[in-house]
């Protein structure tokens, strides 16, 4: 057993973290929010780093890496509140498409994704809107059990506004045709939901850490009563409590990326939703009135966490699913069953 990342995985993570710290700093996120929300130049650099091809099979020109490699990258995207469509694509759409890479039309989409020539958006039929549908060349959409790969030209979009000023969501109208079916295998949307939940959880982890880091930095410098507010035990304990929640969410997220089992995924999802909500509430509190402004960067992270908590199964959905798994009549219980299948 080895619940650890390789040196290469961590190195790549660090490279991405440094890149985003330089290219997607909070000031740049703020700039994007004031403009049209997306930076083509930054996206090109993500392509150059190989990030759009991270999970694309090598045969289609990608790096052929798996979800364990990707989960660290998704976490960094969250930490930077990256506005561009990356995580949904490499963590949900591409792993799905890769299963059908033997079909020439799918293979060519994967190739185009790796080179940055095409973008693919994906929305679960359970969610009313699709993120980044507007900039996408292809959309993965559902009708009943069937999963369709639909060209942008065949859909009509109605843009909606998200509470996250940097999220771009749209309602999608389209007609399902035989030529767009990727698969109609029953249960496939459930597996896709798990990929989506892992993507949201990994980003949520990064968002939560970013909020705690911002608040800790502020607590070190903001003075009241002649001392840094971080010297007050009330403030210290607040942030330490959130850090504990984040650490306890981290292991489940990494495990879920490894096993991709529904119960691990739901566990990770719930742990992160809770940790991120606590991080947001606490970070605002530590910032005082500053934390309630648009002028301090914190709210960008808070609003992303807020928005992502609702899609790909919210807390309610995943807890309910978890309860059914744990409480079903044939659930394996007892000390020997609980951890037996790690």
């Amino acid at each position: 057993m080895n619940f650890a990342f390789t040196e290469d995985q961590l190195l790549f993570r660090d490279t991405v973290r440094d890149f985003l710290a330089a290219e997607c700093a909070p000031a740049q996120v703020r700039e994007a929010a004031a403009g049209d929300g997306r930076s083509p130049a930054r996206f090109d650099k993500l392509v150059e780093m190989g990030l759009t091809g991270l999970t694309v099979p090598e045969a289609q020109g990608g790096l052929g890496l798996g979800l364990v490699d990707y989960v660290l990258i998704a976490e960094e995207a969250g930490r930077a509140a990256l506005p561009e469509l990356l995580v949904d694509q490499i963590g949900i759409a591409v792993p799905l498409l890769s299963r059908f890479a033997d079909r020439p039309e799918v293979a060519s989409v994967l190739e185009a994704v790796a080179t940055g020539a095409a973008k693919v958006a994906i929305g679960h039929p359970m969610d009313p809107f699709v993120a980044d549908a507007a900039g996408a060349d292809w959309l993965i959409l559902g009708k009943g059990d069937a999963v369709h790969l639909v060209p942008a030209a065949s859909v009509a979009l109605t843009a909606e506004t998200s509470v996250d000023p940097l999220r771009r969501i749209a309602g999608v109208e389209w007609l399902a045709g035989n030529d767009t079916v990727l698969s109609d295998a029953p249960g496939l949307w459930d597996e896709i939901l798990d990929l989506g939940a892992i993507a949201m959880a990994a980003q949520g982890l990064g968002l939560a850490q970013a909020m705690v880091d911002l608040a800790a930095e502020y607590a070190r410098t903001r003075q009241q009563f002649g001392k840094p507010i971080g010297s007050f035990q009330a403030v210290k304990h607040h942030l330490a409590t959130v850090q504990v929640a984040i650490e306890f969410a981290r292991a489940p997220v990494y495990k879920a990326a490894f096993t991709q089992r529904p119960r691990d995924v739901s566990h990770a999802r719930i742990a992160v939703i809770d940790a991120a909500a606590m991080a947001a509430r606490t970070a605002i509190q530590v910032f005082g009135a500053m934390g309630y402004t648009y002028e301090v960067d914190l709210h960008f992270f808070m609003k992303r966490a807020w928005a992502l908590a609702g899609v790909w199964g919210d807390r309610h959905y995943h807890l309910d699913r978890m309860a059914r798994m744990v409480l079903s009549d044939d659930a394996a219980i007892g000390a020997d069953a609980t951890f037996a299948d790690n």
């Binding site: 359970m126 969610d127 009313p128 809107f129 843009a159 909606e160 506004t161 998200s162 509470v163 996250d164 000023p165 999220r167 771009r168 969501i169 003075q223 009241q224 009563f225 002649g226 001392k227 507010i229 007050f232 009330a234 403030v235 909500a277 509430r281 605002i284 509190q285 005082g288 009135a289 934390g291 309630y292 402004t293 648009y294 002028e295 709210h299 808070m302 609003k303 807020w306 928005a307 609702g310 899609v311 919210d314 807390r315 309610h316 807890l319 309910d320």
Partner: protein, 395 residues
């Protein structure tokens, strides 16, 4: 102890209920349930007109003594007034800082001249007020105020900066805590000044909130002036007056606030029933818990106000801010959890940042645990004053 209302109370209830029914109509109908926290921008001018309309009918200053133009209503009537106002969907009051804070402070600490000069404008809805306490370096540590005022002839001349000043951009007057004795620090040497906002020595810069709107402001004083007599209490005794104002902040108006909370909870319950979430056991229990919290707040407020005489706070008051702020912050979160995936969808077209009332509630309630004394400061006060624990070490 007597918890029921008398026949006379009920007659008063019928009177205010009828007035609201007959007057929140026509041009004012659209103000129903608008202008609350997070929605402060909605129909501001119309709400100001409604404030004046209420003033003409004698529905401002309900709890103020008759001698200064109020209704002199007993506590039971004040409770009823706030209940019926909220039940009718009365709009967020634009004059609440004057009616709830400035007025009571002037009544308690001001001179007869000041009462004659300032109270009628508050009652009529003509003068709106703002609270100039916080500064960049004086938040929780309010006594660290650096804004200075010096007496030059018959004028106070004021230099410095306030921040987070709610409604400063629409206010006519501001009550300002300023340091009037050079070389002093902490609570000593502060004075409580009433300053007209409309003058060239004052610059107001709105601060954008996470809701996208701007309810609070930075206020810069650069040689701003006010008449020498516009000081409440003695020079150097401003801290005592300022603390008196804070006590009013937790007075009878909290009963009205609870009615607004009640309306919010009712709306959330209605949504939960409609979208099926009310069947979810966790949501069910949180809704029931929220309801219990409301009853606790109401019982505590009635108990506290039954004892309150003047600006000193009874023991029960120390716990109330902490309780309602935390309860309300949880309610905001509960609202979003009840909405589920819909919680993310904002109204309006892309490029604008409009939010639904419940989204505004969620964001605004993030600040409930910060303004009027943060939760941490409230806990320190409870530990130190109610439990007699040693004071936190200061630098």
């Amino acid at each position: 102890m007597k918890l029921s209302f008398s026949a006379e109370d009920e007659a008063f209830r019928a009177e205010i209920a009828a007035w609201m029914r007959d007057n929140l109509t026509g041009e004012f109908a659209k103000l129903k349930n608008r202008g609350g926290p997070g929605d402060e921008h909605a129909f501001f001018e119309e709400r100001r007109a409604f404030e004046r309309h209420m003033g003409k009918a004698g529905w401002t200053g309900v709890g103020w003594p008759k001698a200064v133009g109020g209704r002199g209503a007993p506590l039971s009537h004040q409770v009823i007034f706030f209940e019926e106002y909220a039940r009718a969907g009365g709009p967020g009051r634009v004059g609440h800082i004057g009616e709830g804070l400035a007025g009571p402070t002037i009544i308690a600490f001001g001179t007869e001249d000041q009462k004659r000069r300032f109270l009628p404008g508050i009652l009529s809805g003509d003068d709106l007020w703002c609270q100039g306490y916080s500064e960049p370096n004086a938040g929780s540590d309010l006594a660290n105020v650096r804004t200075k005022a010096r007496l030059v002839g018959d004028r106070w001349v004021i230099d410095g900066q306030k921040v987070w000043t709610s409604l400063a951009h629409v206010s006519d007057w501001c009550f300002v805590i300023a340091r009037t004795e050079e070389g002093t620090s902490g609570h000593k040497g502060l004075s409580y000044l009433l300053v007209p906002m409309n003058q060239k020595g004052i610059t107001v810069r709105p601060i954008q909130q996470m809701t996208g709107t701007s309810e609070f402001n930075e206020v810069f004083f650069d040689g701003a002036e006010t008449a020498a007599e516009n000081i409440v209490g003695q020079p150097g005794e401003g801290w005592k007056v300022a603390m008196g104002t804070l006590a009013f902040e937790r007075g009878a108006s909290t009963l009205g606030q609870q009615m607004a909370f009640r309306n919010q909870l009712d709306e959330i319950i209605a949504i939960a029933k409609a979208n099926g979430r009310a069947r979810d056991p966790m949501i069910r229990q949180r809704l029931a818990d929220a309801w219990i919290g409301l009853q606790i707040m109401r019982a505590n407020a009635l108990r506290m106000l039954s004892k309150a005489e003047g600006p000193e706070l009874p023991r029960e008051a120390y716990v109330s801010k902490l309780y309602w702020a935390t309860w309300h912050r949880d309610l905001g979160k509960l609202a979003m959890d009840v909405l589920g995936p819909e919680a993310e969808i904002a109204p309006g077209s892309p490029g604008t940042y409009d939010l639904t009332p419940l989204q505004q509630l969620f964001l605004f309630t993030r600040s409930d645990t910060i303004y009027a004394g943060t939760n941490e400061i409230q806990r320190n006060i409870i530990a130190e004053r109610a439990l007699g624990m040693p004071r936190e070490a200061r630098a």
